[in-house]
């Protein structure tokens, strides 16, 4: 994709472009929105947003010429999230993200865009699923980058509060996750990240947390990841008490060759709460993969 619109003086246009694709995921028609930036022949970098949010979290990455020089950055909104549609018939079902469904979604989108062994980077639920991908589909990806990765997160609050008629679910979702930021996160990054959580469909954050707290448990299987086939990088903000540095280090203990970076002054949403600080840690990893 490439287009440069004419604009008035003083107006800056970001390089990313967004489109919709129609594809089948697990045999069901879906309409999925994605954005991308970077050269068509760049190393594909497929980015996965957090539970209950959407691809806007990666706008800093899409707008970073030091990334898009070598990488074709692709960010999609999961079905039910952001500008992607829920599937037909959604009114008659309860949304629940499963491990198999999540992996099918990612591989279907990578195949649809004909990505050649992309790097896949995900945060939170995305940081969990990349471990599953490294274990079950190492041949399809050239490296995985897990942000706020943990092997499992046991429920530490009652997620049924996120979808009740006597509670505004999306303002509550934002309030709930508002403590996952570093105290010195720039207000604009913190509140834009929270805005993502204030928007969305009823029950979607809760449905994602089914994967995060129950179905996505990968404890006991991490030793099967072969980092000689697929390098594993784990970057975790120090202020995240959900996918904490301790959780990441515990998971990494079971993945021989995994590289861990603990990021000071960052929380659960490093790519959106403070992108300038996050990139200090990400760029060396991307350079290493590019040179690998």
């Amino acid at each position: 994709m490439n287009a440069t619109p004419n604009t008035a003086d003083g107006v800056r246009v970001e390089p990313s472009l967004g489109r919709y694709m129609h594809l089948e995921i697990e045999g069901r028609p879906h309409r999925v929105y994605w954005e991308e930036a970077g050269p068509a022949d760049g190393i594909p970098l497929l980015c996965l947003h957090t539970a209950g949010a959407d691809g806007r979290q990666y706008r800093g990455l899409l707008d970073d010429p030091d990334v898009t020089r070598d990488y074709r950055v692709i960010v999609y909104d999961m079905p039910w999230h952001g500008k992607s549609s829920p599937p037909a018939g959604y009114r008659d079902e309860e949304y629940r993200l499963t491990t198999d469904g999540y992996m099918s979604q990612i591989t279907a989108i990578a195949d649809a865009l004909q990505l050649d062994r992309p790097v896949v980077m995900g945060c939170s639920i995305g940081g969990r699923i990349v471990l599953h991908l490294a274990l079950d589909h190492p041949e399809k990806f050239r490296a995985v980058i897990g942000l706020q990765s943990a092997a499992h997160t046991a429920p530490y609050y009652d997620i049924s509060w996120l979808n009740r008629p006597d509670v505004n679910g999306w303002e509550t979702a934002a309030a709930w996750i508002s403590g996952l930021f570093a105290p010195d996160a720039p207000p604009e990054g913190r509140w834009e990240s929270l805005w993502h959580y204030m928007q969305g469909g009823p029950g979607v954050f809760k449905g994602d947390l089914f994967f995060y707290t129950i179905d996505g448990d990968i404890r006991g299987r991490l030793g099967g990841i072969d980092t000689s086939k697929i390098p594993v990088y784990m970057l975790t903000g120090e202020y995240d008490y959900s996918g904490s540095p301790a959780d990441t280090k515990e998971a990494a203990k079971h993945i021989d060759g995994a590289e861990v970076t603990i990021m000071p002054g960052l929380g659960h949403f490093p790519m959106s709460e403070n992108y300038p600080r996050f990139r200090e840690h990400l760029l060396p990893v991307l350079a290493k993969i590019a040179n690998g």
């Binding site: 530490y156 509060w161 403590g179 996952l180 930021f181 959900s242 904490s244």
Partner: protein
């Protein structure tokens, strides 16, 4: 620390406005002592230290006194910056009728965190 809540909250016109639908009492429990905080349409009407004869309140937030001190540090250490982080890792419990708390979670978090604006970090 909690005795300062009326000044910290009632002088913040935006915070008071956001709490316009909140009228209740809640308890901040520190183990061997507690405080009842009376809210009237988004304003802190009173902060009553224990003992209170036959206390009535909608919900209670319970944690050890030294943990509240860590929570109220101007720049909390990782894991101490949020009540749910403390619920996961440091023994904080939420008890009682929680719907008003959850339905107004941003507001209650802002109120509970407001003592960080004070220069000292000692609990209560």
């Amino acid at each position: 620390m909690l005795e300062k809540l009326p000044d910290l909250v009632n002088g913040d016109t935006r915070l008071v406005a956001r709490g316009a639908h909140i009228t209740l009492s809640f308890k901040v429990d520190m183990g061997d002592r507690y405080w009842l905080v009376d809210i009237d349409r988004g304003r802190v009407a009173a902060v009553r230290p224990s003992p209170v004869m036959m206390p009535q309140y909608t919900f209670a937030i319970c944690c050890a006194a030294e943990h509240w001190g860590a929570f109220w540090e101007p720049h909390p250490k990782p894991g101490w910056q949020d009540i749910f982080g403390m619920q996961r890792h440091h023994g904080l419990t939420l008890e009682g009728e929680l719907q008003p708390l959850i339905a107004n979670l941003f507001w209650f978090k802002d109120v509970l965190e407001s003592p960080r604006k004070l220069s000292q970090g000692a609990a209560a």
